[in-house]
């Protein structure tokens, strides 16, 4: 089976500043992979590059299709769900409208309905708050909404950018538990960017560590977790 996501020699630029200096990795389908590293290492930039939200050079292949440089909305329509940093909630729309927007591109009404039911099964609180203005939701609820929006696309790959940010530990645990369920039940591959390395390594199968725009180490998360030298020098714990 081919890699669901294959990145080779990826360089990324914010204007004249180069943020990624040739990142390469591949994701096997069905697994959860995490990108770790300090602030400014280039983790969020990598996710943004996959969705063409920054200027890039290098090769990005999704399910074998070349997606580098294509417009964000086209990449998303191919089956890449991006849960952005800061949640990206449509604050002035209701919860229901947030979900409906995400389903905008889908033509199969039946599948959409099933996915909506699935979302409500994972996050029952959203069903309760359906008509509420999304901006009034708590941080945790907005994160659930953001994940749900990505799910409503019916994606094969989900990119998650710091889902634990600003959330209480209990909520984070719950969200991570649900993410594991989604990965297993809906068969969605995941690429997770996290500051909180311990948490990420608990969830993920595989890990890549970034430092100033380069991959400096990679391996099974069980290996990375148990290697104290790696943890101390790259992950700070």
């Amino acid at each position: 089976m081919g890699a669901v996501l294959e990145v080779q020699g990826l360089k990324a630029f914010y204007g004249q500043t180069q943020a990624l200096h040739g990142v390469s990795f591949a994701l096997e389908p069905g697994g959860i992979t995490t990108l770790l590293g300090a602030n400014g290492a280039g983790k969020t930039t990598t996710l943004r590059s996959i969705c063409s939200m920054v200027r890039t050079e290098g090769s990005i292949r999704f399910d074998g299709t070349d997606i580098a440089g294509r417009p964000t909305e086209d990449i998303v329509r191919l089956g890449v769900g991006h849960v952005p940093e800061g949640r990206g909630t449509f604050t002035d729309l209701s919860v229901e409208e947030n979900l409906r927007v995400a389903a905008y591109t889908r033509t199969d009404k039946g599948a959409t309905r099933r996915d909506l039911d699935m979302v409500f099964e994972y996050f029952p609180i959203l069903k309760q708050r359906l008509t509420q203005q999304a901006g009034t939701l708590s941080g945790g609820e907005q994160q659930m909404l953001a994940i749900s929006r990505a799910l409503m696309l019916g994606p094969r790959l989900m990119l998650l950018d710091e889902p634990s940010f600003g959330l209480a530990p209990l909520i984070v645990q719950e969200i991570f538990r649900i993410m594991r369920r989604i990965n297993a039940e809906a068969k969605v591959s995941m690429l997770l960017v996290e500051q909180n390395a311990a948490l990420a390594l608990e969830l993920a199968d595989h890990a890549y560590v970034l430092e100033t725009g380069r991959v400096v180490m990679s391996g099974k998360s069980s290996v990375v977790k148990s290697d104290e030298a790696i943890r101390k020098s790259y992950l700070g714990y």
Binding site: C51, P71, E73, V76, G81, E97, V101, Y104
Partner: protein, 301 residues
């Protein structure tokens, strides 16, 4: 008392037109952060197109949707072809482009149809009815058509997927892209709709103000005042602002006349309506830029 009711009624009728223009302005502002200075001239040009169709024997109620649709296409074209490539240009460049569009539409109308004032027949039957003393059939028509248009738009944005996608694209383009919405085309559609709304407004006000290239200049100023009063980031506010300003404009002139009759002192009257609009614009911008229903975005460094 009779006169007061008359003034309020006619203020509502004028307000209907201001509401349409204000709505068109707000739609473009919310999605692109630009103020369409050419909105008035575009509406005027559309009114001329409608007049031309009428000259060719087309029924008004067929000409109106035709012109609205044609204006829609022109609006989409302007956004895609002229404005999109400049989206990262400095504000001055964009303002200049709008002024350029303004002069093109204005002078083209004059060139094609000449500058002489033309009569634009009202499509509403001239019948007398209960309230005839207070309001004329065309004025009622203006209010009715406007309200129907606004209801249709409201339904479109609230209940259709495309309307939802457009709202999302205007509020949060980045997230909209991540939902697969083609944001660039949503902006173009917004422009098209704004142009169409302006076309309807221009066409139904033409019988009142007579058709000539300068007809929309002062109405546009009132449209700006309305959008600012209501809140330039709020479509609902824009509509409310339109009716408020329409009635206010007439009330000020009315009380000015009263004052003159009572004390012989002339302070303000019909000849100062543009100055009133200017004062409204400056006052709102200075004291409460968000208007009644809008919100001001915080400037990020």
């Amino acid at each position: 008392m009779e006169q007061l009711v008359q003034q309020i009624a006619s203020g509502l009728a004028n307000g209907a037109i201001y509401a349409c223009l204000a709505l068109a302005l707000v739609m473009i502002f919310v999605s692109t952060d630009h103020i369409n200075f050419a909105q008035g001239e575009m509406a005027m040009f559309s009114a001329y197109l409608a007049w031309q169709l009428l000259q060719w024997g087309v029924n008004f109620w067929i000409a109106l949707p035709l012109v609205a649709f044609g204006s829609f296409l022109v609006g989409v074209g302007i956004e895609r072809v002229i404005l999109r490539p400049l989206h990262s240009a400095p504000v001055l460049s964009i303002v200049v482009v709008f002024i350029g569009l303004l002069t093109i539409f204005h002078s083209l109308a004059g060139a094609i149809w000449s500058h002489t004032i033309k009569d634009f027949p009202s499509p509403f039957p001239r019948v007398t009815f209960a309230g005839s003393g207070y309001i004329g059939p065309h004025q009622i028509g203006m209010i009715v058509v406007t309200i129907m248009l606004l209801l249709a738009l409201f339904a479109f944005f609230r209940f259709t997927p495309l309307g939802l996608a457009m709202r999302a694209a205007a509020q949060n383009p980045a997230s909209a892209r991540l939902a697969g919405v083609r944001v660039d085309w949503m902006l173009a559609l917004g422009w098209g709709l704004a142009a169409a709304i302006g076309a309807v407004a221009g066409t139904i006000v033409a019988p009142v103000v007579y058709l000539e290239p300068n007809m929309m200049a002062s109405i546009l100023l009132y449209g700006f005042a309305s959008a600012l009063v209501g809140g330039i980031s709020s479509p609902g506010g824009a509509v409310a602002g339109g009716f408020i300003v329409g009635v206010l404009e007439n009330l000020i002139a009315y009380f000015g006349n009263l004052l003159e009759k009572a004390s012989g002192v002339y302070l303000i009257g019909n000849g100062e309506k543009l100055s009133v609009a200017l004062i409204i614009v400056i006052t709102v911008l200075t004291l409460r830029p968000a208007g009644l229903f809008g919100h001001v975005s915080v400037k990020r460094v």
